[in-house]
């Protein structure tokens, strides 16, 4: 199965996710700043978990896949820096409690023991 097949399998959900009012607001520049701030703090939690998860995937991956996973990890660490910069600019508290939805993602990233 390819990544594109996964999208095709859940095409409606994919479309809804891509056309959520939040993303429309980002696209059109009229998203309420408080909503963006909430997203930023919660996505930071997720990005932290994903960075650690990618490290575990690399630890278990075949040698030939190291490079692509390493690049993914590099991108994630750069993204964490971007979050931290944005949080500083907006005086946001990145240690704010994790929202249940973000926690769900977080647990999924940590649960990949089969990887």
């Amino acid at each position: 199965m390819r990544a594109q097949d996964l999208i095709a399998e859940d095409a409606e959900l994919w479309y809804a996710a891509m056309h959520h009012p939040f993303l429309d607001g980002v696209r059109h520049g009229n998203l309420e700043p408080a909503a963006f701030s909430r997203w930023l703090v919660q996505d930071y939690h997720f990005a932290l978990a994903l960075t650690r998860a990618e490290a575990r995937y690399l630890a278990n991956a075949p040698r030939e896949d190291f490079q692509v996973l390493l690049q993914g990890m590099e991108a994630m660490v750069a993204e964490l820096g971007w979050f931290e910069q944005k949080a500083k600019e907006g005086s946001l508290e990145l240690t704010a409690p994790i929202h249940p939805t973000a926690r769900g993602f977080w647990q999924m990233a940590y649960s990949g023991d089969h990887a």
């Binding site: 960075t51 650690r52 490290a55 575990r56 630890a59 278990n60 390493l70 990890m73 964490l80």
Partner: protein
């Protein structure tokens, strides 16, 4: 009080000096190391570095703070840059980088991976620091007596570089910050250093 990374290095200088004085290592600077032995070493080291990369990845996944994510990511990138040195030699001299591991290589890989899988990040860092600090030390010590005609000049210059020294220092900072059970840290550090010496000896004896 727990020993710092600097204390651990000082306490293991006997093994670091034994590595420096080893005929394999001296032969890198003089250029007198038989090429066949270097070929064995490069292949075994490439094999070892794969385990080293996995060890960093496991430490990264488990490290207790955000700062460690960035430092360990940079160290992981450093391993890949190191592998480019091996790939360069492999291409020039027709060396396969997928060898059967020698017993000394397996011992070191198994030690690193079992530590990284079973113990906290600080202990994993203690097992990985000797390699980084030792190679920075060897590069720096050898560079003053490097024969410019040595076919291993690139090896010496790579490990003598400021980048390698900086990476070793960043790893030592993590070791100092994370710490762990003092006796265990000391044992892991010394064990890794002994495995380094055995690694050079194995390449020396292989052919």
């Amino acid at each position: 009080m727990r020993a710092t990374a600097a204390d651990l290095w000082r306490g293991n200088r006997d093994l670091a000096d034994a590595c420096l004085e080893h005929p394999f290592v001296q032969g890198l600077a003089s250029g007198e190391l038989p090429r066949e032995r270097f070929r064995v070493y490069v292949a075994q080291d490439a094999y070892f570095l794969e385990a080293f990369a996995r060890g960093y990845a496991l430490a990264l996944a488990r490290c207790p703070d955000r700062q460690g994510l960035g430092v360990l990511k940079d160290l992981l990138v450093g391993v890949f840059e190191e592998l480019q040195l091996h790939q360069g030699y492999a291409e020039r001299w027709g060396i396969s980088l997928s060898p059967e591991p020698l017993p000394a290589t397996s011992a070191y890989c198994d030690f690193l991976l079992s530590t990284a899988c079973l113990e906290p990040s600080g202990h994993t860092v203690a097992a990985m620091t000797p390699c980084m600090r030792l190679y920075a030390f060897l590069g720096q010590q050898l560079s003053s007596k490097l024969d410019p005609e040595s076919p291993y000049r690139e090896w010496v210059e790579t490990y003598a570089s400021a980048d390698v020294d900086t990476l070793a220092s960043r790893l030592e900072e993590l070791l100092d910050r994370y710490g762990g059970a003092p006796e265990r840290l000391a044992w892991l550090y010394r064990r890794a250093m002994a495995l380094e010496l055995a690694f050079f000896q194995a390449a020396w004896e292989a052919v």
